[in-house]
């Protein structure tokens, strides 16, 4: 075979279809926004040509965290709140892997909140998708930290007492933040665009995805789903562009330079209209794994040399 045909064959081998990334049959409820997120990441994997064996989806516990089971890549469905530190360990040990984290508003912003804050600061090259449906679904309807005040749930039958925590403003407030975006499950095209931009960013890419839970809070996003004018589409030559088809529906657009953190924080504070797009991006922030792994070379010889040098320090010679 000629070199060219080997290359062509190779290229053919590397072409993968959506099915190559599809694992078990999703068991989310009918109409659940998680399905849209799954479709977006499967498309992302295909379009970016990710090798399934080099890709790991890490999750915690909750509806969102079932996602790895529905992928045909490596997956790590861990424990509640700890997806981020597990993903960090994976990335530190194996920077050659593509690491994604799927987490929910309870998983990330409540039980795993400490890890979330510190993961932003570590800025490891991981893509984090926050499936934010404003409610605990898997445990059957309890208020989450992102539930709007007054949300009626099984633990707040007279309405929740506190103002909702904003994942966007919190993330934008932490040192070393390098990528923050917001998407919604009901605009699949922009969801895909945003997830792709997040994946391509080298650093901790945080995408908050507003996701509908028809089972427990069916009306949560209804006003916005039905009124495209209450969506604020962020566009920029350095960000993402809204397609002509979408422009016709979502006329409320705003040019926003993702390098402007002050404006990003202002936009993040807006709950209505809901901003969609890249709020902030800074490719200059160093990644923790690069800082720590610089010159990391482990051979039997290097281990022996360092060990003997340490032994020398403490040896009492006869």
């Amino acid at each position: 075979m000629s070199t060219a045909s080997i290359c062509l064959n190779h290229l053919f081998d590397e072409q993968r279809a959506l099915e190559d990334y599809q694992g078990g049959m999703p068991r989310w409820c009918k109409g659940c926004g998680d399905n849209a997120i799954l479709a977006a990441v499967q498309r992302l994997c295909r379009d970016e040509g990710l090798k399934p064996e080099k890709t790991v989806f890490v999750s915690g516990i909750g509806c969102s965290s079932r996602l790895p089971h529905y992928m045909r890549t490596y997956g790590f469905h861990g424990i509640h709140g700890r997806a981020l530190p597990i993903a960090e360990g994976i990335k530190m040990a194996r920077p050659d892997l593509h690491v994604f984290v799927n987490t929910g508003d309870g998983d990330c912003c409540s039980i795993g909140a400490a890890h979330w804050i510190h993961a932003i600061r570590y800025n490891m090259n991981i893509t984090v998708l926050l499936h934010d449906n404003h409610i605990y679904g898997l445990t059957k309807k309890q208020a989450s930290p992102t539930s709007p005040i007054g949300t009626k749930s099984n633990t707040t039958p007279r309405g929740s007492y506190l103002d909702a925590l904003s994942p966007l403003t919190v993330t934008l407030g932490v040192q070393n933040v390098s990528f923050v975006a917001q998407a919604v499950d009901w605009i699949p095209e922009s969801l895909f665009q945003i997830v792709t931009a997040a994946f391509r960013h080298r650093g901790f890419s945080f995408v908050r995805i507003l996701q509908r839970c028809p089972e427990f809070v069916g009306n949560m996003f209804e006003p916005w789903v039905h009124d495209p004018q209450r969506m604020l589409m962020l566009t920029h030559e350095n960000g993402i562009q809204v397609s002509p088809a979408l422009q016709k529906i979502y006329r409320n657009q705003q040019a926003h330079d993702p390098s402007d953190i002050h404006r990003a924080r202002e936009i993040a504070s807006s709950e209505d209209p809901i901003p969609v797009g890249i709020l902030y991006r800074n490719p200059q922030v160093p990644c923790y794994e690069d800082l720590r792994r610089a010159g990391m070379l482990r051979t039997a010889g290097s281990i022996k040399t360092s060990l003997e040098a340490e032994f020398d320090k403490f040896t009492v010679w006869p």
């Binding site: 400490a114 482990r298 032994f311 006869p318």
Partner: protein
């Protein structure tokens, strides 16, 4: 150095215990460790113990602020800190009082006390000093007042920095140590500083030596045979850190906690140069999760902690057990529960180590029994974790963490190292949990291996790692995870009794108490008692052959550093007595009547206290039958 004193009486001894006590920051630790190193070079058996205040900057001249070092030197190998001190050197009388009150000094022992306080401008200090001096003399201690400050001032302007080297010189004279070795030691510890600093400290050393030569009418010699092999002199935590390096592990994730942190401090310093990483996580849970992620995708990782941190890691440990991710967890035990006694020794985490995490979570539990064992245990732990895809808990404790003992310098072997990460394609049809029906073992697939894609989960799962909601599959997983312990147990060498193979009383121990227990056995056998001991390095699984050993003794008991109810308490009887951890385990597994004696006083259990207890028991009626 000056002339020798022809009138000095030098007594030859088998062993002696010296304590050097000062305020925090006056260098007693460095003095004690140097003394230990010099003695080790001369071939003496040595065990040094740090005496550490809980506060960083305790007030000066306070009983609670005592900081120092205990050094036990002997003609033969020394395996523990021993009983009460024979000689104490104190930089002030208050730090000394702490040790007197704790009962750490032998009655009538020699005290060399800094005398500067008698001339203090503060009348309160003068009266405290005089009162204490009178009390100590009245109690029969042989107190020698030493003008350390004044003597040092002849050589340096700030005696606070350097008095410790003067004391080292005194000790070298007192114990007839080789001054050339002492000078080399000073050159070694001040190696990074200027020649001037080294010269100044050697001057103080020699001044101390000369002062003791001419002002103390006594001296000792602890004969030693110079070692023929190079020895390492390190503490338990350094040994753990070096063991991590030697095991070929790449990543250690930790969160600061006493008394484990010094292992990570040291590792942070050296690991990076060898291509490894110490990750200080945001909390203990994250440290555990980070290590699990690293182990899953790369080589086996380790997380190092102590009691409270160990509690926080439990859910993560359960995940690693369930998903069969290899992991090494080091727990340098301290006093508990809760914050307990952070700097003090205790062996209270055995049950937590074995049964911690909810559900049935079988894991391997090892305990280190000497400084040398701290080093090799890490290599063994890594290998077991990897071979069996299991969590291996290594229990050390505060008494090993800062104790130093020489042991033969290890000879590097490539077998110690972790194999490279397997990135080969997974054979067609192979499953991530292809549990062997006999051993429960399965081959782990690591990310990067083509064809091995699966989603690992903490949920019950089948052989393909698919979530299992049915009871049958859940049962299969439980079965396989449990069998692995039995498979490991079959590979463990049966332990041997120390002393004799049969007799009246067998003392069983685990972890750091090995040296003290075995020394007690030696002493009591020398008195004619038929006492032996058995020490367990593996607590889960326990090796085979133990039942046979227990059966050859009339009585069996454990000695442990954890709580057990006292049989003499009015409410305590056989129906409610809480036995110590190991005793409970032995009773349950071997159906043998195992008694126990335990101490939770925060200090290492001494051979003397074990002997006292055993003598009382051996004197009882049932032992004389």
């Amino acid at each position: 150095m000056g002339s020798r004193n022809a009138h000095k009486k030098v007594v030859t001894l088998e062993e002696h215990i010296v304590e050097i006590m000062s305020d925090s920051g006056e260098g007693a630790q460095k003095c004690g460790q140097s003394f230990g190193s010099i003695a080790a070079r001369m071939g003496n058996g040595v065990w040094t113990v740090e005496i550490i205040p809980a506060e960083i900057q305790p007030p000066a001249r306070s009983v609670a602020g005592a900081s120092g070092n205990r050094i036990r030197i002997g003609s033969k190998r020394v395996t523990n800190g021993g009983d009460e001190a024979d000689v104490v050197i104190a930089f002030n009388e208050q730090v000394l009082l702490g040790r007197v009150n704790a009962g750490e000094l032998k009655p009538g022992c020699i005290i060399l006390l800094e005398s500067m306080w008698a001339a203090s401008p503060d009348p309160k200090i003068v009266s405290q000093y005089k009162e204490t001096l009178d009390r100590l003399k009245g109690d029969g201690y042989r107190v020698y007042e030493v003008p350390m400050e004044n003597e040092c001032r002849k050589l340096v302007s700030d005696p606070r920095k350097g008095k410790n080297m003067f004391v080292l010189g005194m000790l070298c004279n007192l114990y007839s140590l080789d001054m050339n070795l002492a000078r080399e030691q000073i050159a070694f510890i001040f190696g990074k500083k200027s020649e001037k600093v080294i010269r100044s400290n050697v001057g103080l050393l020699e001044a101390g030596f000369d002062w003791a030569e001419h002002n103390l009418e006594f001296g000792y010699r602890v004969p030693a045979v110079r070692a023929t092999e190079p020895q390492l002199v390190i503490n338990g935590n350094t040994a753990i850190a070096l063991g991590v390096l030697a095991s070929g592990m790449d990543i250690c994730a930790m969160y600061p906690i006493t008394p484990a942190t010094s292992a990570s401090h040291y590792l942070s310093d050296v690991f990076e140069r060898a291509g490894g990483i110490v990750h200080q996580a945001e909390d203990e849970i994250a440290a555990c999760a980070f290590a699990i992620g690293s182990s899953y995708a790369g080589k086996v990782a380790v997380t190092i902690t102590s009691g409270p941190g160990y509690s926080l890691k439990q859910e993560g440990i359960g995940l690693a057990v369930m998903a069969e991710i290899p992991l090494v967890v080091v727990n340098v035990q301290r006093g508990g529960p809760s914050t307990g006694q952070p700097t003090k020794a205790e062996q209270s985490d055995l049950f937590t180590a074995m049964f911690g995490s909810h559900g049935d979570a079988p894991k391997v539990v090892m305990a280190t029994s000497s400084i040398e064992d701290c080093f090799y245990s890490m290599i063994t732990a890594r290998r077991i974790a990897e071979t069996f895809n299991m969590v291996v808990i290594v229990l050390s404790d505060a008494s090993l963490a800062t104790a130093q003992q020489p042991f033969p310098r290890p000879q590097f072997s490539e077998d110690w190292l972790a194999p490279p990460i397997d990135q080969n394609p997974v054979p067609e049809g192979a499953k991530p949990y292809d549990w062997d029906p006999i051993t429960g073992l399965s081959r782990r697939f690591a990310p990067g291996q083509p064809g091995g894609m699966h989603t690992l989960t903490g949920l019950a799962h089948d052989r393909s790692s698919r979530v299992a909601y049915d009871g049958e599959t859940n049962d299969q997983g439980m079965h396989a995870r449990s069998l692995k312990l039995a498979a490991l147990q079959r590979m463990l060498a049966p332990p041997k009794a120390f002393g004799g193979g049969e007799g009246d009383l067998l003392v069983v121990g685990w972890g750091s108490t090995k040296g003290a227990i075995e020394e007690s056995v030696e002493r009591l056998r020398a008195e004619g008692h038929k006492v032996s001991s058995l020490h367990l390095n593996f607590l889960q699984p326990m090796p085979g052959g133990i039942k046979e050993i227990l059966g050859r003794f009339k009585h069996v008991m454990t000695v442990e550093g954890n709580w057990s109810d006292r049989p003499d308490d009015p409410l305590i009887d056989d129906t409610n007595r809480r036995y110590s951890a190991l005793a409970m385990l032995l009773r349950a597994r071997y159906l043998v009547d195992v008694d126990c004696w335990t101490e939770t006083r925060g200090r290492p259990i001494s051979p003397g206290s074990i002997c006292n207890e055993l003598r009382k028991r051996l004197a009882r009626e049932e032992f004389r039958r």
